[in-house]
């Protein structure tokens, strides 16, 4: 019997039997607590197939706020600097001992790099030590640093040209044929084909910081000269629309909203239509946080992407937002979301905390997905491009 049928059989039998037993037992139980009344929509509304009619967007914000102040990676990691670093002691050590390897392993594991990637990195270093490429403790640390930076640094530039092809190794700033637009972000793809609307879709599990990231990015993109429109694609979470509306105000961008509990695809569709009509060239689309384990929600997300891709929309970025405190599940998230909606890059948020966000190393190594942006706080300016060297410095600190 093929795996599929065996699996189905097993699941059907097991779940059937168990559910029946649980139901039997519950029916037998003495009077339990009174069922809480179910006021208002509690469960997820089923995703509708048909697009809902256009909703009116919120009124435009008044004055455009000042340009975002430049924030560097280093500034954002201020809070964690000065904490004791056991690895620094390694530098002074001449020979490489067992304890050295333990310390390196510990540093990597504590940074959430994960067992598999840590083992691979250390195996490479052992090889280098054996072949005498690397000598003392200090060299070893440098070698590790170099390995990590190499792993994370990728040359990815998008041509401003219409077909959006990945340009060669010669770096070319996005939209370089347009004099007024300055390069923003780390390789965020932005096509400048006339009549087309760029859609950057933000996806991820619950609570990672999608809405906040959009708020920050809206400000930066606007300041860089792009015409931004926000789409409140989170129609599920209580007050999600309100939250994004506040960010729209702060960033001086317009927002397209739908009804609470409505079809998120419809909101994104409306936003793209509106953008095309009003001449916005970039739509930042928020989506509801969802666990990749929920099949129907993943299907809903796939649909959102499909709808966003309808001309004149073009999905030029699908950014998976990952919380720096996330452990190994980050890798699972990256895999599952990529399979569902073809993630193009990561946004690593909350890196201003004590968590190192090392899971992105594993994600890049195993899935080839780069981190494009880093969130360093809750303020509107706390979003910077990813810098592999500074990230690794902080990771090994």
């Amino acid at each position: 019997m093929t795996a599929l049928y065996l699996a189905l059989a097993v699941i059907v039998v097991v779940v059937l039997a168990a559910v029946v037993m649980v139901v039997w037992r519950r029916r037998r139980a003495a009077t339990g607590p009174a069922e809480a009344p179910t006021p208002g929509p509690i469960g997820r509304p089923p995703s509708t197939v048909a697009d809902t009619p256009t909703r009116a967007p919120t009124p435009a914000a008044t004055a455009r706020p000042g340009a975002p102040t430049a924030r560097s990676f280093r500034d954002g990691l201020d809070k964690t600097r000065g904490l004791f670093s056991p690895l620094r002691a390694l530098r002074s050590r001449g020979t490489v001992e067992a304890a050295t390897w333990e310390q390196l392993e510990e540093a990597l594991l504590r940074a959430d790099v994960g067992v598999a990637t840590t083992d691979a990195l250390l195996a490479d270093l052992r090889r280098k030590v054996k072949s005498k490429e690397v000598a003392g403790g200090g060299d070893l640390l440098d070698a590790l640093r170099a390995d990590l930076v190499d792993l994370l640094a990728i040359e990815q530039r998008w041509d401003g040209a219409t077909d959006g092809e990945l340009a060669g190794s010669a770096p070319e700033a996005p939209g370089s044929d347009d004099e007024t637009v300055e390069p923003v972000g780390r390789d965020l793809r932005f096509d400048t084909e006339p009549g087309m609307v760029n859609v950057w879709l933000f996806v991820g599990v619950n609570g990672v910081g999608k809405t906040t990231t959009i708020g920050k990015l809206a400000r930066q993109q606007s300041a860089a000269g792009r015409s931004v429109l926000l789409a409140a694609g989170d129609t599920f979470r209580a007050a999600a629309g309100e939250q994004l509306a506040r960010w729209a105000e702060r960033s001086g961008t317009e927002l397209v909203r739908g009804a609470d509990g409505g079809d998120p695809s419809a909101v994104v569709f409306d936003a793209v239509q509106r953008a095309a009509a009003r001449g916005n060239d970039l739509v930042l689309a928020d989506t509801a946080g969802r666990l990749h384990t929920k099949v129907n929600l993943v299907e809903e997300l796939k649909k959102i992407r499909r709808v966003a891709e309808r001309p004149p929309g073009r999905v030029t970025e699908v950014l998976l937002v990952i919380d720096a405190t996330t452990g190994q599940n980050g890798l699972v998230q990256a895999r599952e979301f990529t399979e569902a909606v073809e993630v193009t890059g990561l946004v690593l948020t909350k890196l201003d905390g004590t968590a190192k966000g090392g899971v992105v190393v594993a994600v890049q190594r195993q899935l080839g997905l780069p981190v494009k942006l880093v969130g360093l706080g809750e303020g509107p300016d706390d979003l910077v491009p990813f810098d592999p060297e500074q990230f690794v410095d902080a990771l090994l600190a």
Partner: protein, 518 residues
């Protein structure tokens, strides 16, 4: 991707099998595997070390049990240790003599405090209490709006005003007193543990509100950082307990173990979804299973119970018990099971899966499941009842109707016959190929049913379900599952205190009274 501990230990089981005693070398190997499994489950490195030391101490020189393989024995010890750490001393919720009982929620950004606050409010309301929610998160845009919407869903009033969080919290408690509420739940802004200013703020909130319970809300997918965060909050606020959120994901949740071990306060509640109802007492034994990658079948069943149509399930179960299982039943069940999520994902949650089964689970393509469903749907009800009717021309029709080939249809029919045979075997008391034979596993459905009937006659169980425990034997006579869901108002208890193993003194849930002077 993350091998279950059971798989890992199987690899070294061969060497362990033929000895009478666990040698140090054997133990080293086993512990190395355990270490990797725990790290992959996000347990903090220091906690892993302490844990493996404890397991080593327990296993060293132990004689091998007759009924368990050495690998199983080690897993048993590991499982017991996990349950011991995760359970242990419990938080008995007592209420303040002078209401309201103040509950303060704190945690990192995005951990789920606001949703949890509303869930707690609903939970208490279901217990017959009258809570007030205080929205003291003035940092996050629209956080108070969010709480108001959720509060309305829970049927609980929300208090907030645009001052500063400390004054607001204090006013909130006053308001609760004024309104005569007996519980006051304070939601605060997410904050980094190393943000000195904000940690000072929450300390002041605690100072002015004098909470009876300070609970840390932590995300189940948190990695190594869980300990640093929990420690910092504990130092500042003196936590009484922890609430673990987003357990409906597939994160193994090692953070739970880390936090419990390091902070020493019980994990009180488990949040298992975005709806207000997705909230329950924490079950240490289930968490232990999950961390070890042994599947959280009971949660799966609860989820199944929530999403499946009970009548349909009962009918199909009855039919199956009598040895009937038609394509019609199959179709019905297929649709029900699909509501639970990806098939591969569900398979991974099944206990006792062999390595081959797990690999097979990884390869299952949910698209294929749709195709199977399509084929069965293209059949007429008569054909589903009696597939022997299906001749050449019907086959062609079915193939066309479902967009597949006649070979696909043939394949399905053949596979289905195999399935029927297998299920008949299971019903009769045999095992399932590919699943480890354990005490009382699925083979024994009939006996389990008899047990249920016997229990029914005796007047019911209270919390423990031996039939279910029997059904999902787990590793070597494994954990006793707790009664699911909250019953009538009663204290929070830890799991596993029933059915204690011989020779082992199990510490019953102790009582942690609120700090003095409240």
């Amino acid at each position: 991707m993350f091998d279950a501990l059971s798989d890992r230990l199987e690899r070294i089981a061969g060497r362990l099998r033929s000895r009478g005693r666990l040698t140090e070398a054997d133990l080293d190997q086993a512990l190395a595997e355990i270490r990797t499994a725990l790290l992959e489950a996000d347990v903090e490195l220091g906690v892993v070390r302490g844990f493996t030391d404890a397991v080593r101490a327990r296993c060293s020189g132990t004689a091998l049990s007759k009924s368990l393989t050495p690998g199983q024995q080690v897993i048993k010890v590991v499982h017991e240790e996990l349950v011991r750490i995760l359970g242990g001393e419990t938080l008995k919720l007592t209420y303040a003599s002078r209401p309201p009982t103040v509950v303060l929620l704190a945690g990192l950004q995005g951990s789920g405090k606001t949703t949890t606050a509303a869930k707690l409010a609903q939970w208490w309301r279901q217990q017959g209490r009258h809570p007030l929610l205080v929205g003291a998160d003035l940092q996050r845009p629209a956080a108070v709006d969010q709480l108001r919407v959720l509060g309305a869903q829970a049927g609980v009033t929300v208090f907030s005003e645009p001052t500063d969080p400390v004054a607001l919290a204090q006013a909130g408690v006053e308001e609760a007193r004024r309104l005569g509420r007996d519980v006051c739940i304070i939601d605060t802004a997410g904050r980094l543990a190393i943000d000195a200013e904000l940690m000072e703020e929450v300390r002041r909130i605690s100072e002015v509100t004098q909470p009876h319970y300070t609970l840390l809300v932590i995300d189940a997918m948190t990695g190594q950082d869980a300990v640093a965060t929990a420690n910092a909050f504990h130092q500042t606020l003196e936590l009484d307990g922890v609430i673990l959120t987003k357990l409906d994901g597939d994160a193994r949740g090692g953070a739970a173990l880390s936090v419990k071990e390091v902070v020493g306060r019980p994990i009180v509640f488990a949040s298992t979804g975005e709806r207000l109802a997705d909230f329950d007492l924490f079950h240490p034994d289930r968490m232990a299973d999950r961390i070890l990658g042994m599947g959280d079948v009971l949660s799966l069943i609860e989820q199944a119970e929530r999403t499946m149509d009970h009548e349909a399930v009962a009918k199909s179960a009855a039919a199956m018990m009598e040895g009937r299982f038609t394509l019609e039943d199959f179709l019905g069940q297929l649709q029900q099971v699909r509501k639970l999520g990806s098939l591969g994902g569900i398979m991974k949650l099944m206990p006792g899966m062999s390595k081959e089964m797990r690999q097979a689970a990884d390869q299952i393509d949910d698209g294929e499941v749709s195709r199977v469903e399509a084929i069965v749907r293209s059949m007429t009800p008569a054909e589903r009842e009696n597939p022997t009717l299906i001749d050449g021309s019907r086959r062609v029709r079915i193939a066309r109707g479902s967009g597949s080939s006649t070979q696909d249809v043939n394949q399905l029919l053949k596979q289905f016959r195999e399935m029927q045979k297998m299920m008949k075997g299971v019903m009769a008391g045999g095992g399932i190929p590919g699943m480890a034979a354990g005490p009382g596993k699925l083979g024994g459905l009939r006996s389990a049913r008899k047990q249920m009937a016997a229990l029914e006659a005796m007047g019911g169980t209270d919390g423990v379900d031996p039939a279910l425990a029997e059904l999902f034997g787990g590793a070597g006579g494994g954990p006793q599952p707790l009664g699911v869901g909250a019953g009538p108002p009663r204290p929070v208890t830890a799991g596993g205190s029933k059915g204690s193993r011989p020779g082992k003194k199990k510490k019953k849930g102790g009582r942690v009274t609120p700090p003095k002077g409240r």
